[in-house]
Structure formats: C-alpha cells, structure tokens
Subunit: 143 residues, 2 copies
C-alpha cells in the first residue's frame, strides 16, 4: 500500500453553494463535468471532492443515512493502480484492527471499491478504476 491519501470527499448539502465557496471564494481550480453530481478540485497531491452528503452516506451503507447516525460526512480515499490491491488492502486493514464497512464491489460509476473504518470510525474508501491515471507523484490525474 503506497502511503498516500488520494482523495478527501466532503459530504455537502448544496453542491452549487459549496462549489462557489471553494472555486470562487477560495480560488481552488475545479474539475467539473456537468450532470456528474460530484465535483473535484485539482488540489496538489491529495485531491478534494464535494459530493451530496446523503448520497455519500448511501454509497457506503444505508446505516449511515439520516441525522443521528454518527456519520461524520467526510471520507478519505486510497486509489489503487491494480484492481487486486483493493481486496488486499481491505483485508490488511481488517487484520490490523479496522472494521470492514463495505466489501469491495463493482460501483455504479464503473469502478471497484470498498470501505473500511479505522479504530476510531474514520472512513476510508479503497478504490480502483480502469480509467484512472496517476501523475509522477502518484496523485490522481484530473483532466
């Protein structure tokens, strides 16, 4: 496992309001495809993503939906170069004392991903997709 956080995803209530805050307010370079329902920023190294909070919860587990579920609304992601790494890393995290939250499976966006929680419940997605590329530092290419 490369020591890298590929992506931080913030669950948001209003994607357009948050886009304005980060893109226009703070000046972060946005990478946006209309209608995709997710917004990426070309932050250096670890990328930042905004995604509707309820959708983010649903993608992980129905148990995280609704107020009072304890869902912190923020996830870290480790994106792999090979598909087989996803299961290997989830197994490694479980062996190390983490909790498997969602076993790896094909996703609606064409990737393969699963989630573990660290000993304090912080959520990590481990994900692979054939169409992802990495720059020379290992950061996700967004173009």
């Amino acid at each position: 496992m490369e020591p890298r956080i590929s992506l931080i995803t913030l669950g948001v209530d209003d994607l357009e309001r948050s886009r304005r805050f980060y893109a226009e307010g703070l000046g972060f370079p946005a990478h946006y495809t209309a209608g995709e329902g997710i917004l990426f920023f070309r932050t250096r190294g670890t990328r930042l993503a905004l995604y509707p909070r309820e959708q983010l919860a649903k993608d992980i587990s129905p148990r995280l939906l609704g107020k009072g579920s304890g869902f912190p609304g923020i996830t870290l992601a480790h994106n792999t170069r090979e598909k087989a790494e996803v299961d290997a890393i989830l197994a490694r995290a479980e062996a190390a004392g983490g909790t498997l939250i969602k076993p790896a499976a094909e996703t609606f966006w064409g990737g393969y991903s699963g989630y573990f929680a660290d000993p304090d419940g912080h959520l990590w997605e481990v994900a692979w997709a054939a169409f992802w590329r990495f720059d020379e530092q290992g950061a996700l290419v967004l173009d």
Copy 2:
C-alpha cells in the same frame, strides 16, 4: 491561497492503538517524536496526523468538547508560507460564506493559526510556523 490541503488530522481515542493501525498495520511511514502527543505520517502530498480527539476539539473551541457536540473529529489544514497569509485566508473564507470558528492567534506549539468552517461545517485550520519548510511540490517537510 495555494490549492493545497497540507494536513488531515484525525481525532483518535487512543494514540498508540491508532499508531499501530496506521504504522504497523497499513505500513505508513511514521514521523514521531516521543512525548509530543501528536503523530505525523509521511503520506505523499497531503500529510496525515493523529491527535487525541478531545485535545483536537479543545484546540478549536470548547464548544466542540463532549459527545453530542457534533464535532466530526477530523480537520483539514492549509499551511501557509507567510504569517500574514493566515489572516488573509481566514478573511477570504468568511467573505466567501464560511464561518470564522477561531480567530488567528499564537498557539502553544509555537505557530500562528485559526479555524474556519465551510458552508457544511467542515473544519479547516489555516496555520503558519517559522520552523516549517515545504518541498518542491509544496508539501510539508517532515524530518
């Protein structure tokens, strides 16, 4: 403001348990100084830090202490090269619709820092310290 997340800090209940999980379990290279009470990892690009959850809450605002405070236990940080950038970025975030959570002030660890919340309440620290150095990609040097 450079488009960069310098640091992700995870609030943890047991620093040693979490150190074992990330350093031994996942194999992340740790940067640890005994007795400092905070643990950094040399993740590429954005660095990862572990810090006791209650201490993290206290450093931001006493309102975040205790269960039920809504504190998500995770913060993002943007570290600046110049001290004056801290106030400028906090002002910019507020003007963009963010909320000033903690005005910039000298910290107990020798830096200068403040916090804002984005429109969904996600917490960002904006921080400067004279002793920090940055690599050619702008990532914090940990040595």
